[in-house]
Amino acid sequence: MSRRAGRRPGPPTLDRLFAIPDAGPPLEAATGFTPTGVGAVGHRIVEGGPFGAFDRARRDMLKLLTSGNAPGVAVSDDPHGWAWLRVTRAPGSLGELPGDLHLVNAVMQEAGFGPFLFCTVVWFGRRGRRLALVHARRRGTFYLFAPLDGRRRDAGLEALAAGALGEGPGGVLPLEPDPGRRFPLWDAPGLS
């Protein structure tokens, strides 16, 4: 296993999370959606129990995250073996949230559990409606997810927001080109 790690290092795309604040102004100008202050990191609950390597790494990460100027943190898991770590900051701006989410990703990746993180989400809202900016770690790309009632998606809003973030090389963020890979996240915390 480690033999392969040397040949193929993890994708150096985590730093792109720091570009998320750049997405705020164009997104608000185009759609009127502002940051809700809620973000989340989705990950696999790796086997090993409370004293296994994964839970140790998660405890270390939570300790770092909740020291100093700490955000609100909540953990939720689902029966299929995935979990969400929800991070809450003051709504309205994207000040510290991307840094928090980067810390979660970086510490888990450093401990060797990068492959078990599947995405990072930052929520925007306007009058009860929600819009998620999703970072797919494995692909190194961002996409938009606009949930509607009854498990439908607002494709128009997603396209509008993607346009504001700029497709192509001049854009603010690298967007996912394949529409088939912009997966919905119906259980992500912060959706309602």
Binding site: E47, A53, G81, F113
Partner: protein, 299 residues
């Protein structure tokens, strides 16, 4: 720890090609009789086989689904299956395969297709009834590892002779139940059934070498994707446990259910027929528990 390493390695590709050699022998054996009629008939048969193989590569997924009595399902029909598959795609970077459900009562699952872009992942109703959510995710992770390893095509090419022979055998067995007329037809068609049985046996043997390593590799790659080898070990135990204790003895997952999956047996996560083309489940569980210990220790 390493990233879930899902791309095929050159060495593995070479070994897959080597393991396919017996399968090609089975294909050659089906064509060889035509050469007895004359060289032109033989060449025509080879050409027909090549053409069939080309068509097969494009349409393999549909064949396999049809043989297994499965149908593709949409996200509105099966939100749980789709959610799990999508999440596995998100963490592996794979394009999303189609999702299908087979009405078979026997708990099992398989992946088919000619590559990651055109793959289909199928589970049976029996599997959904018997496995918990975490075990379902583990089995789907195993199947996604097949899709990622591009061995769905190799597996399908290897499974095809068995698939055809299995369908012929199933049809022939049905004839016996069709009254005196059916029995007469069955007797008349006995030579065909004998050839099919021979092909089924040879095809299964040939597919064995290939599927054995495919399964072990998918177990490992699937575990690197899901991080939960224990769930897969649990699922394998539940799938291979036949009701009634003895193989094939139970009424629930009895002969009717198994017959549905017999043609695609070598593709399934645990072999559907009695021929064990996969490594013994106990072996695979032991390997998975080793991976589990490694994960817990963070090695």
């Amino acid at each position: 720890m390493a990233a879930p390493h899902l791309a095929p390695e050159p060495a593995t590709a070479r070994r897959t090609a080597a393991a396919l050699a017996p399968v090609l022998l089975v294909y050659a054996a089906t064509v060889a009789p035509a050469f007895l009629l004359g060289p032109w008939w033989g060449l025509a048969a080879v050409a027909a086989l090549l053409a069939a193989a080309a068509v097969l590569c494009r349409t393999m997924d549909r064949w396999v689904l049809w043989a297994a009595g499965a149908r593709p399902v949409g996200a509105d029909e099966e939100p749980e299956l789709h959610a799990v598959v999508e999440r596995l795609c998100l963490s592996s970077g794979l394009p999303k395969p189609r999702v299908a459900v087979s009405a078979a009562r026997e708990p099992n699952a398989f992946a088919a297709g000619s590559g990651p872009g055109s793959a289909v992942v199928c589970v049976t109703e029996g599997l959904r009834e018997r496995l918990g959510p975490a075990e379902l995710a583990a089995v789907l992770g195993h199947e996604m590892a097949h899709v990622a390893g591009r061995d769905v095509l190799a597996g399908c090419v290897a499974a095809f002779p068995t698939l055809c022979a299995g369908l012929v055998l199933d049809g022939w067995a049905l004839l016996w139940r069709g009254g005196p007329l059916g029995a007469l037809a069955a007797v008349l068609l006995a030579p065909l059934a004998a050839v099919a049985a021979l092909l089924y046996g040879a095809g299964t043997l040939a597919a064995m070498a290939l599927s054995r390593r495919r399964e072990l590799r998918a177990d490992e790659a699937g575990t690197l994707l899901t991080g939960r080898p224990g769930d897969l070990a649990e699922a394998l135990a539940k799938i291979s446990a036949r009701p009634g204790g003895k193989a094939g003895a139970g009424p629930g997952a009895g002969p009717a259910g198994r017959r549905t999956l017999r043609p695609v047996s070598t593709l399934c996560v645990v072999p559907a027929a009695l021929t064990a083309s996969h490594p013994p489940v106990a072996d695979r569980r032991a390997r998975l528990l080793t991976v589990a210990r490694r994960l817990a220790a963070g090695a």
